[in-house]
Amino acid sequence: MSPKPTRVTNRIRALRTERGDLTQADLAEKLGVTRQTVIAIEQGKYSPSLEMAFQIARVFDVPLDDVFHYGEGDAN
């Protein structure tokens, strides 16, 4: 498996599981993107824009840093 291109990780899949009823297709529809984009975000292959990140947090009704985390180490 190739290394992830970004150090940003997220809990979208876990949050969807906690919600129970939200599929990738549902989330894609709420965000106005394709299912492929939601899959790419969940797999860490694509970092969404700040605006979309806030939209995702709003869908789950949680703060932004409950959804996205930045990997340990240099922040430069």
Binding site: S2, T23, R35, Q36, K45, P48
Partner: protein
Amino acid sequence: MNGSSHKLPREPHRPADDEPTVMGMEERSAWVQVFVFVITTGAYLAVVLPRAWSQPIDEVEWVVPLLWALGISIVSVIVGSIIAGVGGAIGLTIRGLDVDSELATDSRDKDIGRHARLRTHWVASVLGAGTLILAMLDVDTFWIGTFVFVVSSIGAIAEAVVRIRAYRRGFVA
């Protein structure tokens, strides 16, 4: 009637999590772009280079082959992308997935396009500087025309390869 029936395409169903989908439209276009430019540029070089070796360079007929290669490239990318899109739509319909939502383009496609243009920006510099140097050296127009076409094709291929890589392995904007 024996009860057997043709299988009609299924009505679109709600895809389950991680249900495989088909390649998006933009990635299909990128693949078409790679194949078309490799073939047309190779064909152009296969036609004009033997002429350049076998006759005086100022007598080499290169304008018509270049215009053909350019025209075929443009038309093939457009037609190839349409055919690839239709193929994807048929595949989705057979699998019972919604064509409009699965083949749509979104912000990720735009970001990948921007990322690819940024990563292949060097081609424009090579093209500009190389053409200027060839003109300063007063080489035959055959070399200038061929250089511009080949470097532009390399740029188109490189841009498409970066896009494909970003779709498959991910990228950081």
